[in-house]
Every structure is written in C-alpha cells, then in structure tokens.
C-alpha cells in the first residue's frame, strides 16, 4: 500500500517492500518433548521470578532460605552435641510442611493464572503444542519446583547428619534406607501439594484468589479435620480417616508410617501406610484429571 496523500512522484518507486529479514526456518526441528520441556522451563523461570525485579524474586528466595534454615540449625546443633538427635525425619517433614504449602501457593498460581488472565492460551494452542502438552508442561514445572523444596533440604539434612559421624562413608551406607525414605516422602509430598495447587489455580484467573485458597485450604483443613475427628470420636474408624482431609496431617501420618514411628489415634496412628499413600496418589490423579479436563477443548 502506498501512502495516500503523499505527493505523487514521477520517478519509479523502488523497493517499497523490504525484506525485513524474515526467513523460513529450514534447520532441524526437535520433537514434541522438546517443546513441552521448553514451556516447562520457561514456566519455572517465570514462577521463580527469574529476569524480573528483586521484589518478584524475594518470596521464593525467602521460602528456600526458610526451608534450609531448620536443616542448618539441626546439623549445627548435631555438630556440637553429637548425642542429641535433634529432629527426626518425620518431625522435619511436618515442621516444613506449612512452608512447602506457601511455596506451592507461590508457584502454582504463577504457572497457570497469568496465561489465562492475559489471554495468551490461544497463542500457545495455535503452536505445535496441544492442550494436553500445555497441561503436562505445567505439571512438570510444578513437580520439579515442588521437588526442589520437598526433597533438597531433606537430602542436605541426611548428608549433614552422616558427615558429622566419625566415618561418613560407612554412615551413609548404613543410612541408605533413610535416604530412600526421604526420596519417597519428598516425591509424594511434591506431587501431592503440587497437584492440589494446580487444581486450585485452574479455577481462577486471579493469582491472589488462588494463593489465598491454597494457603487457607492447607490451614483450615487441618483445623477442620481435627474438629471432625473429635466429633466422630464414637464412630471409629471414621475419626481417623477424616485426618486424610488435611494435607498437613496426611503428610505427617505418611512420614511417621514410613519411618515406623508410633503416633496416637488422633494423629491417624491406626491408618496403614499403604492407605495413606493410596489416598495421596488418588488425590494427585483426581487433581491432574480435573486440571486436564479444565483445559480440554470443548465446543
């Protein structure tokens, strides 16, 4: 299109349409997995506030510091008082749970809400990325991020404990079982709270609403299951099963059962490990199913 109103000129007009450098891409293309991974990687960076102002990074940093601080304290105390077993692994996992909950509230809404609020989903889905790919990438990002906070500090705790003994290598060999249990607990917790966080985030565009519901959900269900447990005291075993309504109590029972620690009935002492893990896996499956359904194409 020529500029209307411009004075007509006699000379031949040249090169009105310049090559703006657009080229067809002829190089090799990676497969679907690579695009999913790219989206997951980008999502993780965004959730942690990479390439943003320090004010966007401060919360994830504080949460990581908060997760590692107890580990440092425990290892430090153990160094000076080797006899004292300051904090068992189940205690560690239950201490850290609220922090993990806030961490999920920090990252899960960041993974899903802005894309919907800013209306960029059609842009993703008009690329060679399907709706399911998108959901899988976001779940992958959530799983990896929650693993960094549920697993890493616990592994550091394990390493610290072993390194402070006289023979670290022998101690490590002797405590491989603990490491395995830490891995199992860390993965279970990460998937469990990550899935719940994504579920909540898939129902609102507002990050704030999702953050509030996630943190409150973790807190209120704890009080709620406690109250229900009291109210149902004369209807066993229901007074124990209602514990599984609360993520924090579920995780506590899972960790204690994993390490074979006896707990009272009010804390779910009668619930077998298999049942707890089964319920957690079911929660993950249901949450992921609903999230995938929320993003599925509908006419």
């Amino acid at each position: 299109m020529s500029a209307p109103g411009a004075a007509p000129t006699a000379e031949p007009r040249f090169g009105e349409v310049y090559d703006r450098g657009y080229r067809h891409y002829e190089g090799p293309r990676h497969g679907q997995a690579s695009s999913v991974w790219a989206l997951a990687r980008y999502s993780m960076a965004r959730a942690l506030g990479f390439k943003k102002s320090w004010t966007a990074k401060i919360i994830p940093i504080l949460l990581y510091v908060g997760a590692i601080l107890p580990v440092v304290v425990v290892v430090g105390v153990t160094a000076f008082f080797p006899a004292a077993d300051v904090m068992s692994y189940p205690e560690y996992f239950s201490t850290i749970f609220l922090l993990e909950g806030i961490f999920v509230a920090a990252i899960a809404p960041e993974l899903l809400c802005p894309d919907r609020r800013e209306g960029v989903l059609p842009l993703y889905f008009s690329r060679p990325i399907t709706r399911l790919d998108y959901v899988i990438a976001k779940m992958l990002a959530a799983a990896i991020l929650t693993l960094t906070i549920s697993l890493l500090p616990a592994v550091i705790l394990w390493l610290g404990k072993q390194l402070l003994t006289g023979q670290p290598l022998a101690a490590m060999r002797d405590h491989l079982g603990d490491l395995g249990r830490i891995g199992a607990a860390g993965v279970l917790i990460a998937f469990y709270i990550g899935a719940v966080g994504l579920l909540v985030s898939s129902f609102t565009e507002r990050k704030g609403v999702a953050v509030g519901i996630i943190v409150l959900g973790f807190l209120l269900t704890e009080s709620l299951s406690g109250a229900l447990s009291v109210a149902l005291a004369d209807r066993p075993p229901w007074d124990q099963w209602v514990i599984l309504l609360s993520p924090s109590r579920t995780v506590f029972r899972m960790a204690t059962a994993l390490w074979g620690v006896e707990v009272s009935g009010r804390m779910g002492g009668g619930l077998p490990l298999g049942a707890v893990i089964g319920v957690m896996a079911a929660v993950v499956a249901v949450c992921c199913g609903i999230v995938a359904w929320r993003y599925a194409a509908r006419d």
Partner: protein, 333 residues
C-alpha cells in the same frame, strides 16, 4: 537543500543551547509541552535516549515502529513514568508528581482494559467525578456523544469490542474538556468507520487550539490528522516537523544503496559519473554498495545507465536500518 527548512532534526550529540528553538517547533511558536533532554532506561536497556522537543497547539503525531519508545515517551509526558534524566513540563509546570496538572490534561492510555463491570456511561461519569466537574452526568453524556457512543453507553464495558473500548477511553479523557490531550495508539482495534470518526474528532480538537498528541506506528494514519510529526526510532528523536518536508529531507540524506547487476564494475564506473554517487565498494557476488546523498536521483539514474550500457540490474536496495530506511518502512505501510 537550498531553502532553509523550518526545522532541523537535531543531532543526538549536539546539546542545543536553551535559546535555540526546540526541535518540532516553528520559529516563535510557544510550546505547550516541553520535553527537555529526557532519557529513560530500564536496567541496562535504554528505552529513550536524550530526547528534546517541544509540542505546540494543533495535532502532533508521535511516530515510530513498534518498540521504538513512543509509548515510553508518551507515558512520561502523561506523568505515569519518571524520566531517568531530564524534565517534561506542561504549560511550564512539571507533569511528574503534580496531580493538579490533570485538570488541563486528558490521557488515553495504551492498555485496552477498562473496568469491565462498569457501563460505558458509569466509566465516563467516574472520570468526570474524579475531575470534580459540577455536573458529571451531563459532562459524561456530552463526551460520549462526541465519540458517538450514546447508543452503547448503558452497556457494560466488559462486553465492548476493541474499537468501542478505544472510543469510551477517548470520551473519558475528553470529559473535562482539557486543553492538552495525549492519545496512545487510539486507532488500534478500530474499524474504518470508527477510525474516520476518531480522526475527524482529533482534527476538530486540534483546529480549536488544543494540543493533541497521538502516537501511532502507521504513518498513513497519522498523515490524515497530524500537522506535525515526531519520529522516534530506537529511542531517539529521528525527525520532527512537517511530514512532507521530512520526506524530502530523507531523500537528500546520505545513505547506502546496494546494487546487484550482471556487470557491477562497468555499472559502478558509469554511476560514479553522476553527481549523486559518492564512494563505491564492491561486495562480490555481482553486487556493489554505493553511497549517495540523493537517493531519488541515484535511483532514477541507475536503471537508465544500465539500459544504455546493456547491463541487467537485478536488485537495487537501500541498506541501512537508519532513519531513512525505517522511515521508508513507515511510509510503505
């Protein structure tokens, strides 16, 4: 080159003494808005680099490709952003940290979002109330009539089309009848009829002595309402003044042209004879690059010379991403 132009694009490295007229102003014209040596950077990214100009009453188009810094400049003029260095004043008063300035200034922001839960009328009336007008409802009705939105005024903004949202934003910015109006890409998302109406409105506003600044990346649009233009490229003021004058200046500006032909050496030898051609450099692959200070003359001469010499010309292309080629890009749109 003979007539002294009414204005001069200001070289970036030349800090004008305060007595010289600002770029964008004719001699003896009093500016409404003065942008004085303004830069804006984000971290190590420079968005606006040492820009100075003045804007007088009438319609001025703020022109440049997307990402050139137009929006940043307009936001600084509106007082939304603080310049990293430099000052911006409206009627001699700083715009930043001076809310009272908004009595005389109306701004149509770039973003499309308007409170979706309000009706168009409620939104414009809210602006009138915040402007402390004595009869906000009446002022709102008048402003809505100006943008021809009366029939949709009782509907929620959330259900508006892009063009309707743009128009209701314009109504909100005009509700207090400001002397100065800044519009950031107001024609985005409008259909041709709405565009014509908005353009007519801006011309009317300019004709009644108001200062109207409109940013756009489409020159053919800006031409239809702006008497003066400011061209922003890569965060720098590239040109200021009347569109046609600038266009002529462009073609007199020295620039590089790449010519690909069947016999580059012979063609270059022939071309070097004409006065428009400066230095020539051979690039191989049948091409050479010629400096010229008169692209029009060069491009008129080259094909004629080639025909005379029996040489096939495959391609003549302006090379530099500088002011002139970007301007050509703008014109070409």
């Amino acid at each position: 080159m003979t007539d002294k132009p009414r204005w001069m694009p200001r070289p970036v490295d030349d800090i004008a003494p305060s007595s010289a007229p600002l770029p964008g102003l004719g001699a003896g014209v009093e500016p409404t808005i003065v942008v004085d040596r303004v830069s804006k950077w984000y971290g190590d990214v420079v968005a606006v680099s040492d820009v100075s100009f003045g804007i007088a009453p009438g319609v001025t188009g703020l022109l440049g490709p997307n990402g050139a810094g137009k929006s940043t400049i307009l936001k600084m003029m509106a007082g939304l952003l603080a310049p990293s260095t430099g000052t911006i004043s409206l009627d001699g008063r700083p715009v930043r940290g001076n809310p009272l300035i908004y009595r005389r200034l109306g701004v149509v922001p770039e973003q499309e979002q308007v409170y979706p839960f309000l009706t168009g009328f409620e939104f414009v009336r809210l602006n009138a109330i915040l402007q402390k007008l004595p009869d906000p409802a009446e002022a709102a009705r008048r402003a809505i009539a100006l943008v021809e939105m009366a029939s949709a005024a009782e509907r929620r903004v959330g259900g508006y089309s892009k063009g309707m949202r743009q128009r209701i934003k314009v109504a909100a910015a005009l509700v207090h009848d400001p002397q100065t109006i800044l519009l950031d890409e107001p024609l985005n998302g409008t259909d041709p009829v709405q565009r014509a109406a908005l353009i007519a409105l801006m011309r009317r506003l300019g004709a009644t002595g108001r200062t109207v600044v409109v940013s756009s990346h489409v020159l053919s649009e800006v031409e239809r309402f702006a008497e003066n233009i400011l061209v922003i490229i890569n965060g720098k003021l590239a040109a200021a003044g009347d569109f046609h004058t600038i266009r002529d200046k462009m073609d007199e500006h020295p620039r590089a042209v790449r010519v690909r032909s069947s016999d580059p050496r012979r063609l270059a030898a022939a071309l070097i004879e004409i006065p428009a051609t400066g230095a020539v450099r051979f690039d191989g692959d049948g091409a050479f690059t010629a400096e010229t200070d008169d692209v029009r003359a060069f491009c008129r001469a080259a094909p004629a010379l080639a025909r005379r010499e029996g040489i096939h010309v495959y391609e003549i292309q302006a090379l530099d991403e500088s002011l002139s080629s970007v301007f050509a890009y703008l014109v070409g749109r």
